[in-house]
């Protein structure tokens, strides 16, 4: 089971821009990747804000999930914005770390 929810949030910290928040729930595995890609489609239309990906309830991620994360990074980084991964579990953090992905993203606990 995988679920994605998008919402907007006023700027925080030292960033004045608005923030997009994507809340992920469940397993972002190969089976869920198609659905996840579709769920993220609206964020690629935004060029004016940062994005927070809330991983509090993300249980599992596979390479196909990481590809989606990478595409999001490329899009927002290209427009000078941040991608913040929020409250990753240790398991998820290990997977990202092993693939060398952690250095691309801001993380937040």
């Amino acid at each position: 089971m995988f679920k994605i929810t998008l919402s907007e949030q006023a700027g925080i910290e030292n960033r004045s821009a608005e923030k997009l928040v994507a809340t992920l729930v469940g397993d972002l595995d190969n089976a869920a990747s198609t659905e996840a890609a579709r769920g993220f489609e609206p964020v690629f239309e935004r060029t004016d804000c940062d994005i927070v990906i809330d991983c509090t309830q993300l249980n599992y991620i596979s390479s196909s999930g990481l590809r989606i994360f990478l595409n999001i990074y490329k899009h927002f980084h290209g427009h000078g914005h941040w991608v913040i991964l929020k409250r990753m579990s240790d398991d998820i953090r290990v997977v990202l770390s092993l693939g060398g992905f952690l250095q691309l993203f801001h993380t937040e606990d």
């Binding site: 397993d27 595995d29 190969n30 596979s62 990481l66 990074y73 398991d91 290990v94 997977v95 693939g99």
Partner: protein, 707 residues
């Protein structure tokens, strides 16, 4: 059903025959009795006639003697002494006459005194004496004749009387009757009665003796016997076998019963219901009566009736046997046709049952299944079925309401419908819904089916089910929660509600029909749902076959000699998380990996985070096979080898060695690497060991992960 057509027909025929026989017996009895009375009357009258002539002859002799001699007495009336000669002549010439005399009025011959009666009398030795009866003589008969008949100038027969002592002359007094005619003097005036006595014993002895002899012969041994008596016109008994009753008067009601001059009547005489046959003797006004107790006559009628009834009963028995034997051949074809039809349906039912497999024909690691259906004596309506498709087990159990042919047909239809639905429908509630609508639309019969339809995902243990009014199945020792749905076919527009639950690996699902819970023993105690639940709990570790056979044995033990009234269907299904997973090589199937790996990891007691790493390794490897290997099917096996969980991935695609192909340069930042290779990188990072071989056109990749 037990009382066959021929038996019912036989009983009806026998009832009609019995009524006819009773009527016939009644009519025969009545007619025979009438006939017997008629016949007895004729017989008795002919007996009477014989003696009638005898008596008339004797009476006529007396009558003629007096009538013929009265003129001579009148001629010589002036010479009293000649009277003795006349009297002597009359007695001598007529042996029937016991005594003859002339009763003169008092002082008729002044010279002879007050009373002058010239008389001639026959004694015992047949000698005739002549005597004059003088003044001392007196009796009632003389008074009657002189003072009643003589003034009226009438001749008459007197009523019987016993002769006077004087006449008896020391002998026994005889019973007499007297014929008397008036004697006239020269002026034509009646002056005396010319009399002749007849001794009745002479007649009666003969007749009574004759009749007694005859009756004794015919009515031997009877309590009341026939007898004969004679009365005069006043009802005085003249002759009777009981001499004590002679000269006494017969009860008036008996006399009144005899109306005509001859005939018969039935009346009570001396306390015995009797038939009286009688005939009067005209000149004297006497009546001869032959008395026969009704018993004596009807004894024969009764005997005849008993014989007739016995014959009829025998006839009835013969008819019964004949009917049982013959009607079976004539009438039972109808019943036999019905029985044949039922028999054929039972065979058809049996064939259908036989086609129902006891267990899966293609063994699955995930499923241990066993079913048994014990049909009741009549064809019944239990059904069950199961079907494997797309790694899912479709199963159902059901019970058609009612019994007999319609239920059996319905059951066949329902099962065929289920078979057809499961091939194209993936939801239990949809299957039930479709079946309900189809039956509701096409059937007008008031039959419905309680059903439980389930779809068990063999990989995940997810159970999708819909219960249509059936007994609650037992899942892992607990009754399964069910929604209150109507039975299938009860209401075509009913909206069914489906339910879902998830089985844990090793859970037993036990389904049954009410034939089990409601099985009765001789004392009519039911087996009971509670007992089913207790037994399933107690035998939770049995195999499906053991559980079903155990339950079957228990219910048979409970029922004992009681007849099984309903089909009993038992279905046990145990699900185990498979340790082998076969899937198509498409991304749609990849979701099945998670429960498979989770189960293997759980079995091995692996930590959650390690399980996730194993899952990632396996998932990346499988995704690579799907994306790059051009395989059609992939089989995974899980095994625990020492401290390692080993997942073997077997695919039929192009040769593809994922162990050798880790080319991703991790030193290049992730966003600057060329596409691809990420999956294989994770496979290598997550696995604690990898090996590959190519065998028989299959790639076999082993992924090892430490516990």
């Amino acid at each position: 059903m037990r009382s066959s057509l021929s038996a019912r027909l036989t009983y009806r025929i026998m009832a009609v025959v019995l009524v006819m026989m009773v009527v016939i017996a009644g009519v025969v009895y009545y007619k025979v009795r009438e006939y017997m009375l008629d016949e007895a009357q004729d017989r008795h009258l002919s007996i009477l006639l014989e003696h009638y002539h005898d008596m008339r002859r004797k009476l006529s002799e007396v009558y003629m003697a007096i009538e013929n001699n009265v003129h001579e007495v009148e001629r010589d009336i002036g010479q009293p002494d000649l009277m003795f000669d006349h009297m002597e002549r009359v007695v001598r010439q007529n042996p029937t006459i016991a005594c003859s005399y002339v009763l003169f009025k008092e002082y008729y011959y002044p010279s002879r005194g007050r009373v002058f009666i010239p008389c001639a009398r026959r004694d015992e030795a047949d000698t005739v004496f002549v005597a004059r009866i003088d003044t001392t003589y007196h009796n009632e008969t003389a008074d009657y004749l002189l003072h009643e008949r003589l003034p009226k100038d009438e001749s008459c027969w007197t009523k019987p009387y016993y002769e006077s002592e004087q006449f008896a002359n020391g002998q026994e007094r005889r019973l007499l009757t007297t014929y008397a005619v008036p004697v006239h003097d020269g002026d034509g005036q009646p002056v005396a009665m010319f009399c002749a006595d007849l001794a009745l014993e002479e007649i009666s002895d003969t007749i009574v003796h004759d009749i007694k002899k005859m009756v004794g012969h015919y009515e031997k041994g009877q309590r009341h016997q026939s007898y004969f008596f004679v009365i005069d016109w006043q009802g005085t008994i003249i002759m009777h076998p009981d001499e004590g009753r002679i000269a006494k008067t017969l009860p008036a009601d008996v006399g009144r019963a005899m109306k005509a001059s001859r005939g018969r009547c039935v009346t009570e005489i001396d306390g015995v219901e009797s038939m009286l046959t009688y005939r009067s003797i005209s000149p004297v006004g006497w009546v001869m009566v032959f008395v026969t107790p009704l018993d004596a006559i009807q004894k024969n009628a009764r005997t005849l009736n008993i014989i007739i009834l016995a014959a009829m009963l025998l006839g009835l028995l013969a008819i019964y046997l004949f009917c049982r034997w013959q009607i079976k051949d004539i009438a039972d074809p109808v019943a036999m046709q019905k029985a044949n039809l039922e028999h054929e349906l039972k065979i058809a039912n049996g064939i259908q049952m036989a086609m129902l497999p006891k267990t899966l024909n293609r063994p699955s690691e995930a499923i241990d299944l066993y079913a048994a259906l014990t049909p009741a004596r009549d064809v019944g309506g239990d059904l069950y079925d199961f079907f494997l498709r797309d790694n899912r087990l479709f199963f159902c159990i059901g019970d058609v309401s009612g019994k007999g042919v319609p239920a059996a047909l319905m059951m066949a239809v329902v099962r065929a419908m289920f078979r057809s639905e499961v091939r194209r429908t993936d939801s239990a509630v949809a299957i039930v819904d479709t079946m309900n609508r189809t039956i509701g639309e096409e059937s007008t019969a008031d039959y419905f089916v309680t059903m439980f339809v389930g779809i068990l995902d063999l990989t995940t243990g997810r159970l999708d089910y819909c219960n249509a009014g059936h007994e609650k199945p037992i899942i892992a020792g607990q009754p399964l929660e069910i929604k209150p749905n109507l039975p299938v076919g009860a209401l075509s527009y009913w909206t069914y509600e489906g339910q879902q639950t998830r089985l844990q690996s090793g859970d037993m699902l036990f389904l049954y029909t009410d034939g089990l819970s409601e099985a009765q023993n001789v004392a009519e105690e039911q087996f009971g749902r509670n007992r089913v639940l207790q037994l399933v709990r107690a035998h939770g570790t049995d195999t499906a076959q053991q559980l079903v056979e155990f339950m079957d044995g228990e219910v048979k033990r409970h029922s004992g000699d009681a007849e099984q009234s309903d089909d009993i269907t038992l279905l046990a299904i145990r699900w185990r998380q498979p340790e082998r997973l076969t899937m198509l090589a498409t991304m749609d199937e990849i979701g099945r990996l998670e429960p498979f790996i989770a189960h293997a990891a759980q079995r091995a007691g692996m930590a959650v985070s390690d399980a996730k790493r194993l899952r990632l390794a396996v998932e990346e490897a499988v995704a690579n096979v799907i994306n790059h290997g051009q395989a059609t099917a992939i089989t995974l096996q899980a095994a625990i080898e020492g401290r390692q969980v080993v997942i073997t991935i077997d695919d039929d695609g192009l040769p593809f060695d994922q162990t050798a192909d880790s080319t991703t340069d991790l030193s290049v930042p992730a966003d600057q690497r060329p596409p691809g290779g990420l999956g294989i990188m994770y496979l290598h990072k997550m696995a604690d060991g990898l090996d590959y071989q190519r065998t028989d056109g299959h790639n076999i990749l082993r992924i090892r992960k430490n516990k």
